[in-house]
Subunit: 246 residues, 2 copies
DNA sequence: CGGCCCATTGACTAGTGTCAATACCTGTGG
DNA sequence: CCACAGGTATTGACACTAGTCAATGGGCCG
């Protein structure tokens, strides 16, 4: 029974193998995120993968180091940060389960990946992955879909950074977070896994600006801030207006 | 002699079929942009491609429209713009020959592509391309490399937008333009195909800020502005300092 | 219970957006 | 060849937003 090999630990319950999610090109299923891989494909990937664990604050890999593998998140949240002089760093992306991470250029990682929570991930060595993809065009196509998805998200990030006001940027950030959750109970509650500084580094604002803007949105009745990790959209109409305008 | 067949016109010399360039993952050829496709692959793509022409200011395709094809630029320069309310638009990318353009999501284009100069491009219908890619894993792998390259460029764009000062952003923009030219005579001369407004929309600044910053850099002896389309880096050291800092 | 780090708040400054006016380049027509 | 018209680019004056520095408050872990 190759499907459910003798799992030793909790991660083995969903441990059929790597899994990646994206919004596909095609028009079916109106723009929802779906799992791209079949059971067979996950099994193929599992054969070349190992599982790694990363503690909060630790690096999965570091920029400029030789790139040996690509990773697929199973549990936890990560950020990729771009080294910037000795100034404040830039967060280029937040990564959640079913995401791919470990983009390289000329054999080296282009950024550093840091865990925000305890992280579990599949580690897929690049040579083995490359061999596998060349044998399995369908699987390779799904990787292509996923990378295109990440490209769209990066462009979305750039669009957010183009907004002039902090309120507009923060709203776009929360909107992004909300839409990465499965379509389940999307009732306006948003869980913030990352710190204010991380949000600031992602949105190219100061942590103080993040605080001030949260306060402004709360006083305006647009957001409810339950605690540092949980906010809620109260006035959807004005919230969306922040995203559309300026 | 398949390499240099009897060219009829300038475009025909490189007219063997679609061609895409990127910096590959692997460590060979120290980070230079190379052509990804073999002659055979270009020929395969040529069989499903047609050639389209776009006048300056005209659209190659428009956001939200059903996506029927992906395009590969042969000549000219384009921009992709994101529709943003009725406010000023956001330029998400500039595209040059050997680039791919036409990313879709759920069957529709995610942005609009506008020609800045007379443009010639290969038009590759998505269904035919998809069939071809599934038969040709090697070719598909090269598309994957190209999309990863575009992802890195988009992240680079986001990093540029994260810079606080206009001088730093503009320097990063010029740096990007310079590095898209082939490594030939990279003597500091930079050709600006796009208008000041386009630069402003790409860097999330006002056109006035672009003008002011050009003036500041010229007065500081960092840049020489020959005319509206040609600038030149005079003080490379301080120019690079603008890119690294802030 | 205490210490540490993160988050928040306030005062001030610096830099960009905005609005308005002028100068410049391009292509057109006389 | 020159004059003209349109759009683009530049320049200036002013308002406004976010950055910075500094200090306080709050939560979490030892």
């Amino acid at each position: 029974m190759p499907r459910r090999n003798s799992g030793q630990q909790p991660s083995a319950r969903r441990g059929h193998g790597p899994d990646i999610e994206a919004v596909p090109f095609s028009t079916r299923n109106g723009g929802a995120r779906i799992s791209l891989l079949s059971e067979a494909e996950r099994h193929q990937l599992a054969l070349i993968s190992s599982v790694v664990h990363v503690k909060p604050g630790a690096h999965l890999y570091e920029a400029r180091q030789p790139a040996g593998a690509i990773f697929n998140l199973i549990h936890g949240v990560m950020k990729t940060v771009h080294p910037l002089g000795r100034s404040r760093q830039i967060v280029t992306a937040f990564l959640f389960p079913h995401d791919l991470v470990g983009l390289s250029e000329a054999g080296r990682y282009v950024n550093s990946a840091v865990a925000l929570t305890p992280v579990t991930a599949y580690r897929m060595p690049i040579p083995a992955l490359e061999r596998l993809l060349r044998r399995a065009p369908e699987l390779e196509y799904h990787f292509l879909c996923k990378v295109c998805h990440e490209l769209r998200e990066s462009q979305h990030h750039a669009i957010a950074l183009g907004r002039k006001t902090a309120a507009s940027r923060l709203a776009m950030f929360l909107h992004m977070l909300e839409h990465r959750q499965p379509t389940e109970v999307r009732n306006g509650d948003i869980h913030l896994t990352m710190s204010r500084s991380d949000i600031a580094d992602y949105m190219a604002l100061s942590p103080e600006a993040i605080s001030r803007t949260f306060r402004t949105l709360r006083r305006g009745g647009i957001l409810a801030i339950k605690n540092r990790q949980h906010v809620s959209v109260l006035d959807r109409k004005r919230f969306d207006a922040l995203i559309d305008n300026a």
